[in-house]
């Protein structure tokens, strides 16, 4: 094989590897359902998100219950609607959110602000330290949730009293490209190939449990990717340096 052919063949292998690499660049849509469990399992709320590289889109819903009362018969007919009224683009680097009016190519930014100040959806805000909070992760254990291969890790405290009060586990998916409401707020497992997607807390004395279950995970369609990309471009053009308390990482010396 002469030198030109060797080079050409190497170029082809490079193309092949690029193809493999591109296929791994995945964007996902999924749901996280929150439940409270005592004697029964009750849905508390649902978060619908899109994991888009280092960004996360969170869909905001409005619950509407429409009732019609008929005075003559005294009967009431009810229907429940869940309308998605806006979508948040969340970014980790500057800890900001951008609120969009709709999930389509024709979108507008309604509001921007600090991640901890967003009005709706899930928030993970720092709270006051009241005890020694040194905790560490247990080894990941495989578990299937809603037909999705997940792992859980137990969060163990050096403070024995805390372990007796409640048990806490984090649910994870082994995918370094996946983003989540926990990851966007800085919560990471020791091995960054795992992404924390949910929480599982059990209070033995009260026999109550709070769990977050991941569900309906799927890759994005090309059109969804185009919409996400257009929102991303719009967010980068937005004026954010007037948001109080925001120090843009790009502008740091």
């Amino acid at each position: 094989m002469n030198k030109t052919n060797k080079l050409f063949f190497r170029f082809l292998i490079f193309l092949f590897l690029c193809g493999c690499k591109t296929s791994k660049e995945k964007f996902y849509a999924y749901t996280v359902d929150s439940y409270t469990i005592d004697t029964t399992k009750r849905l508390m709320s649902s978060s619908n998100v899109i994991s888009y590289g280092s960004y996360l889109f969170e869909f905001i819903q409005r619950v509407s219950i429409n009732n019609v009362l008929h005075g003559e018969s005294g009967s009431v007919t009810s229907s429940i609607d869940y309308d998605t009224v806006s979508v948040y683009l969340l970014e980790n680097k500057n800890k900001l959110y951008y609120s969009f009016d709709t999930f389509s190519l024709k979108n507008s930014i309604l509001k921007t602000g600090k991640l901890s100040d967003k009005e709706f959806g899930v928030r993970l805000n720092p709270s006051e330290k009241d005890t020694d909070t040194t905790v560490f992760y247990g080894p990941p254990v495989e578990v299937i949730i809603n037909k999705i291969k997940c792992f859980y890790t137990e969060v163990i405290s050096k403070n024995k009293n805390m372990n007796d009060t409640f048990e806490m586990k984090m649910t994870m998916i082994k995918n370094a490209n996946l983003n989540s409401l926990y990851k966007i707020n800085g919560a990471k497992f020791t091995d960054e190939n795992y992404c924390i997607v949910g929480l599982n807390i059990y209070l033995p004395k009260q026999r109550q449990r709070y769990i977050e279950e991941v569900d309906a995970i799927r890759p994005l369609t090309e059109k969804e990717k185009a919409i996400c990309e257009s929102m991303l471009i719009k967010s980068k053009a937005a004026v954010i340096d007037t948001i109080r308390g925001v120090a843009l990482k790009e502008k740091k010396p």
Binding site: N5, F8, F9, L12, F16, G19, C20, S23, S34, T36, D38, R42, M44, S45, N48, Q61, V63, N66, N67, V68, L69, H70, G71, E72, G74, S75, V76, T77, S78, S79, I80, D81, Y82, V87, F103, S104, F120, G121, V122, R123, N125, P126, K129, D130, T133, V135, K147, F166, M168, Y182, N185, A187, I196, Q206, Y210, P219, T221, K223, E224, I227
Partner: protein, 438 residues
């Protein structure tokens, strides 16, 4: 040798690129996980998506017709997955061969025995088509079945139905009329403006021209009152059958060209261009959450006799349902109205009017709690109360209760490398209640 080597390199290139592309495509085009097409799915889709569409609103009787959810049958129609239910309607309408073809008692018995079904069909492009399919037996078939259409299967287990199969869309527009004999379609019907001249036989309003026959069909109707009880039981109290209108149908052995419209073809029309159709992603955005099915409840309220004394009452309704963590947000509505009745000589009928002079809903209040989660309801805007069309027969009261629900986990989350975190989630509430005095 060099040529062979070049050929080998070129062939390898093609194979490598093909494998690479295939790998990319197979990953990118992985279909979303499908859901079982059953009553739960259809019911969620009906209340979550369909009732918000223009197609649902287009039906004049939309509020008075619904599938009998408890008696669904999973089947296939034209090789497509379908779930079929008995169709409960406020107006029963069946098209029967004209007035001269049947005696009045025969017409009434056929109309009473005819079956009306509603089919939800999963189309090839993963959409759902809604079709009313009516089975109108012919007199001989009905006699053979001893006037019981409960079993339309022959000895071989296949359909032995003989009569007309009429397919309509949700709004009641006829899409196809097929004549079946022993379960097989033998003629395709088409509504025509004028009856063509031909040989009339038996004086039964049926004439023939070539291989086609022409029949006068009449629309028999029975008006019913749909009663939905609090426990989900549905009653349908119906009046007598009567003829509304008649029209001509051309029945030919071959399907008419073009498929849909008033012609032949199966229950599914070919896909049509719809400039108003939204992208699936937008539709998914608007209906992102699979909805819970609507629940019907009933309360005790006074009836409204006409007279000089006002009818006064109040009731409590749920602003947010208990499924969300074992609690509810409730609101209280007070109302008072006069019900007047007078006889209109010109209309030759009694006219009812309602004067809703008190209609007020409070801002809503939270009931119940949970140890793990503290949920708080906050009214963001004062509740809006409106009285619409007062002093008419269509008087309505409408209240909107708007607010937010803030769920806070009562336990600090302690994650390695992080400060303790508080988990909270905020949902919006905008709920309405419509009060109809009539």
């Amino acid at each position: 040798m060099k040529t062979l080597l070049k050929l080998f390199v070129f062939a390898s290139a093609i194979i490598l690129i093909a494998i690479s592309c295939k790998k990319m495509l197979s990953n990118e085009d992985q279909p979303a996980s499908g859901k079982t097409f059953n009553t739960a799915f259809v019911k969620n889709w009906y209340y979550g998506t369909f009732i918000k569409t223009a197609e649902w609103s287009a039906a004049a009787e939309k509020d008075k017709q619904l599938p009998d959810w408890k008696n669904g049958v999973i089947t296939t129609i034209d090789k497509l997955d379908a779930v079929v239910y008995p169709f409960i309607k406020g107006k029963h309408t069946f098209s029967l061969p004209g007035a001269n073809a049947l005696t009045d008692p025969q017409g009434k018995r056929i109309a009473a025995a005819s079956l009306s079904t509603i089919a939800f069909i999963k189309t090839a492009d993963n959409k759902i088509a809604v079709r009313e399919i009516d089975y109108i037996p012919d007199w001989q078939y009905l006699q053979r079945k001893q006037f019981d259409m409960g079993d339309m299967k022959g000895v071989n287990g296949k359909s032995d139905f003989s009569g007309m199969v009429i397919t309509k869309d949700w709004a009641g527009k006829i899409l196809s009329l097929h004549t079946q004999v022993e379960g097989k379609t033998v003629k395709y019907g088409r509504i025509v403006k004028e009856k063509k001249s031909g040989n009339t036989k038996n004086g039964d309003n049926t004439s023939s021209l070539g291989e086609c026959t022409y029949t006068t069909f009449c629309l028999w109707q029975q008006d019913c009152v749909l009663i939905i009880h609090g426990d989900g039981m549905i009653e349908n109290e119906c009046g007598a059958w009567y003829i509304v209108e008649c029209w001509e149908v051309e029945n030919c052995p071959d399907p008419p060209p073009g498929g849909g419209g008033g012609g032949g073809g199966g229950p599914i029309e070919p896909p049509a261009c719809d400039p108003n159709a939204v992208w699936p992603e937008e539709e998914q955005f608007n209906n992102y959450v699979v909805m819970q099915s609507a629940s019907e409840v009933s309360i005790n309220a006074n009836t409204s006799p006409d007279g000089q004394d006002p009818i006064t009452n109040s009731f409590v309704w749920n602003v947010a349902e208990a499924e969300y963590g074992g609690w509810t947000v409730k609101a209280n509505t007070n109302y008072s109205y006069f019900h007047d009745k007078y006889f209109d000589v010109n209309l030759n009928a009694f006219i009812h009017t309602y004067n809703l002079f008190v209609f007020a809903t409070g801002n809503g209040y939270f009931v119940g709690s949970n140890f793990t989660i503290t949920s708080t309801y906050t009214t963001t805007n004062p509740t809006v109360n409106q009285v619409i069309n007062n002093n008419t027969s269509n008087t309505q009261g409408k209240s909107h209760v708007t607010g937010t629900l803030n769920h806070v986990l009562n336990i600090q989350i302690r994650i390695p490398y992080c400060d303790p975190l508080t988990l909270s989630s905020v949902d919006q509430i905008d709920n309405s209640m419509v009060f109809n005095p009539r």
